[in-house]
């Protein structure tokens, strides 16, 4: 049989491609300035490392100490990532697709551990199980003098896994919601059972989201400073910090920082390659039909029990421990007024960071969305470079920069705000970008034809319409700045403690009661926007 058909490729209009014009000089300059700021830490780190000479730098980078650090940090990143994915993927699927009891509650509850900064998690862990911790206190009358040490690899692994798995959960869950149920049905009609379908159709579909979520966890683990240093795990970030604080040889710290940046780039590159080879897009927009609810049957309550266990370990116990220390602190007369000052400091620093990030993201988003082209991609890419750098490294680079090149802003809010912009600008960028994409270019064109100039159009049409994105981006950066630890620790003006630095320093010195109220305040301030974010997810 001969089949001849005139086939035409399915073409889809690209709304962003419309109205692409050359950028105005002002916009181009603004974007380039932001890109320069984003690249500043990396550039300065290179300059500073080169001062020791290439031979010496290579010696440091290949020394046994660095190799050990690489091995330990890499092992931790891989183990945390694997464990986080192993928890998050089943939880994501169960909370979307099944008849789990109280499913709506679990959708929110399983994501909440993300509101607990890892150093607060580390604090809860040490405060419960460490020397002078709660458990030790209970056991002492029974004659137990010391507990097996929780410090080191396994402590860091547990804490980082419990408080970062929501990164994978959130990305995979949105992918599960987007699964086209007819693909699973097609597999069934082709003679494959439930489990085979899960393996051959569902998991391959989820692969990009699992990779994306795992990347977030992996990069986070590489850059985490608070939890690893509280749990005294000798990772790269801690080594850099100690090197910087303990010796005058700051160039060595700079070289270590560069090595960590290299590791980060390798991870990013690997993910990029994996994503390219596995790139596939949805062939059709999903039909109106919702995915059928899968009955768990006799596994319904055991599954419920497992989720209860997860919630207990990742949320209830940490909060209970912090709460216990808070009550003990009240008994011992810990000053509450101090926490109010700390909260004020945190709020002020985070507000500055959020405003500056939104202001910096605006020209970049405009360039990327409205003008497109090579310049837009270049500027946007530069912003992401800053974001992928570990906080310790950015802070270190800015310390060098401030002390040597710009002493007038060293030890001021300016430098700290600059660090926040470098680290978190892409969070604002993402939100602003997507809200700009939703504004039809013809609205701007209409405004211009009605006699408003470019600037007037921006203020009277574009900004009002992009407001949801500006607000969302701003609050996201605000939240992240509140929780940020290493850059705040290194760059905050002298005598300017924040909630985050207070939790960290009190815990490092085992003043658990002193850390309790700041930690509670942090979790509370972070969990409100978190809950709103999760509740806004679509249901199934």
């Amino acid at each position: 049989m001969q089949i001849v058909t005139a086939d035409r490729p399915v073409d889809r209009p690209d709304p962003a491609r419309r109205a692409r014009r050359r950028p105005t000089p002002g916009l181009a300059l603004g974007g380039l300035a932001v890109a320069a700021v984003a690249l500043l830490p990396l550039a300065y780190l290179l300059v500073r490392s080169s001062e020791v000479g290439l031979d010496r730098a290579l010696d440091i980078a290949t020394s046994e100490r660095v190799r050990g650090l690489l091995w330990r940090t890499g092992l931790l990143a891989v183990s945390v990532t694997v464990a986080a994915a192993a928890i998050a993927v089943p939880v994501a699927w169960i909370t979307v697709r099944t008849d789990l009891p109280l499913r709506r509650f679990w959708v929110v509850a399983t994501a909440l551990p993300l509101a607990i900064p890892t150093y607060v998690g580390g604090y809860a862990f040490v405060g419960a199980l460490g020397p002078r911790g709660i458990l030790q206190g209970w056991l002492e009358p029974l004659g137990v003098e010391s507990l097996p040490s929780l410090y080191g690899f396994w402590g860091a692994w547990l804490v980082l896994t419990l408080f970062t798995y929501p990164y994978v959960l959130l990305t995979v869950r949105s992918a599960v919601r987007g699964l086209d149920p007819s693909l699973e049905e097609a597999s069934r009609t082709l003679g494959q059972g439930r489990w085979t379908t899960l393996r051959r159709v569902v998991l391959p579909q989820l692969r990009p989201s699992i990779l994306a979520g795992s990347l977030l966890v992996g990069l986070y683990t590489l850059s985490d400073f608070g939890a690893v240093s509280l749990l005294r795990f000798d990772s790269f970030t801690r080594a850099i910090f100690v090197q910087y604080r303990a010796s005058l040889d700051r160039s060595t710290a700079a070289v270590l920082g560069l090595v960590l940046v290299a590791v980060t780039l390798v991870v990013l590159g690997g993910e990029f390659a994996a994503r390219r080879s596995g790139s596939y897009h949805r062939l059709h927009a999903s039909g109106a039909r919702a995915a059928p609810v899968i009955a768990l049957g006799r596994w319904r309550w055991p599954t419920f029990g497992l989720l209860c266990a997860l919630l207990t370990v990742a949320l209830i116990i940490p909060l209970a421990v912090v709460g216990t220390w808070f009550l003990r602190g009240l008994d011992a007369g810990e000053p509450i007024r101090l926490t109010a000052t700390l909260a004020g400091n945190s709020l002020r620093a985070a507000t500055l960071g959020a405003l500056a990030s939104v202001a910096a993201a605006w020209p970049v988003a405009l360039l990327a969305v409205r003008r497109g082209g090579r310049l837009g991609r270049l500027v946007e890419g530069a912003c992401w470079v800053g974001h992928s750098l570990p906080g310790v490294v950015v802070a270190l680079a800015l310390v060098f920069f401030g002390a040597r090149v710009a002493p007038s802003i060293y030890q001021t809010h300016w430098l700290l705000t600059l660090a926040y912009v470098v680290l978190f600008l892409p969070q604002a960028l993402g939100a602003i970008r997507s809200s700009l994409l939703q504004i039809s270019p013809s609205l701007e064109e209409a405004s211009r034809l009605l006699g408003r100039g470019s600037l007037a159009t921006t203020f009277r049409v574009v900004i009002p319409l992009a407001r949801p994105g500006l607000l969302a981006g701003g609050s996201l950066v605000f939240l992240t700045c509140m929780k940020e630890l290493p850059a705040t620790l290194l760059l905050a003006p002298t005598g300017y403690p924040t909630l985050a630095t207070q939790v960290w320093s009190s815990t490092s010195e085992a003043f658990f009661a002193r850390a309790a109220l700041p930690a509670l305040a942090l979790v509370l301030l972070s969990s409100i926007p978190m809950a709103i974010l999760v509740l806004r997810e679509p249901d199934r």
Binding site: M1, Q2, I3, V4, T5, A6, D7, R8, P9, V10, D180, S182, L183, E185, A186, S187, R188, T189, L190, G191, Q192, G193, R200, V201, P204, Q205, R207, G278, Y280, H281, R282, L283, H284, G287
Partner: protein
Amino acid sequence: MLNGTVGAIEVAGLHKRFGRAPVLQGIELRVAEGAILALLGPSGCGKTTLLRTLAGLERADAGTVSIGGRPVVGPGLDVPPERRRVGLVFQDWALFPHLDVAGNVGYGLPRKERTADRIEAALELVGLGGMARRQPGTLSGGQQQRVALARAIAPEPSVLLLDEPFSNLDTTLRAEVRTELHHLLVELGVTAVFVTHDQEEAFVLGDEVAVMLAGEIVQQAPPADLYAHPATPWVAEFIGDANLLPAEAAGGSAATAVGEVTLVAGGSGPTTVLLRPEDLRLSAGGDATVELTEYFGHDTMYLVRTVDGTVVRVRAGAAPTHRRGDHVTVRYDGPAAISYTSEARSAETPPTAAPTLASR
């Protein structure tokens, strides 16, 4: 063509409800071995649900289904889809985006039979030879549909189900793809059931057409029988242009707005008579008026208002010879007409899809 057994489908007393809303209400259906059945109905009539129930993707509340003589649905019985040997071509084709064309087509084959030859043979069958390594996203709509078809027939199912097989194609492509599919189904000799809301598709492809309304099969018959003898006025209107004229029956004929018409079944009293537009003739002069002329190329449709105000549709197989405002005479020149008692007419809700002026 297919080596596997080709099976008949038998459905009896099938019921299904979604929550409170009944979707299937006692479906009775029989498809002979190797026959092609069109399930025709307006949207929301339950035809897709029926198809999915046959495939095992929906669970029936009551009734029985057997495929190839083997019961698959019955009291305490619901064979899972993977063990029904039913091929289904989805409305959106549901190609696996993570697999290439060969991966899609070979998906349902047992591991041992999943060979390049076997897959290529299935692709040749649908005219896609040499496309095995392409990604589904790079194919055109028509090609994607053929991959979906090859995937469904590769495991040699005993029946093939197709859900709105042409709805995702450009209108310009449809007629062409329809003929190809027709060729292929005939060549395969497979028992096939396809769902459509398009009367033309149902008539062209179906050996038999089952008309569905509100969860029931209203009538199942070969297309020509269906067209000539629709069971209800609603069916008559749904499957083609129809003039349903109020009439007064007396003996073997009835008096209508277009004159005396011979009836198939005699009777007396008020009735409704079905007159197809192509059975009406126009001649110049008279007391009816041409209100609109619609020229289609192969024929012309006239909307004519008779002296008592009834509007009738008249089809003539030529270029327009009467113009708007012309005075004409309409007369019936067809076989003995079907009539419906007024109870039968009021029992059915007229479809919104195909109203005719004559029914107002």
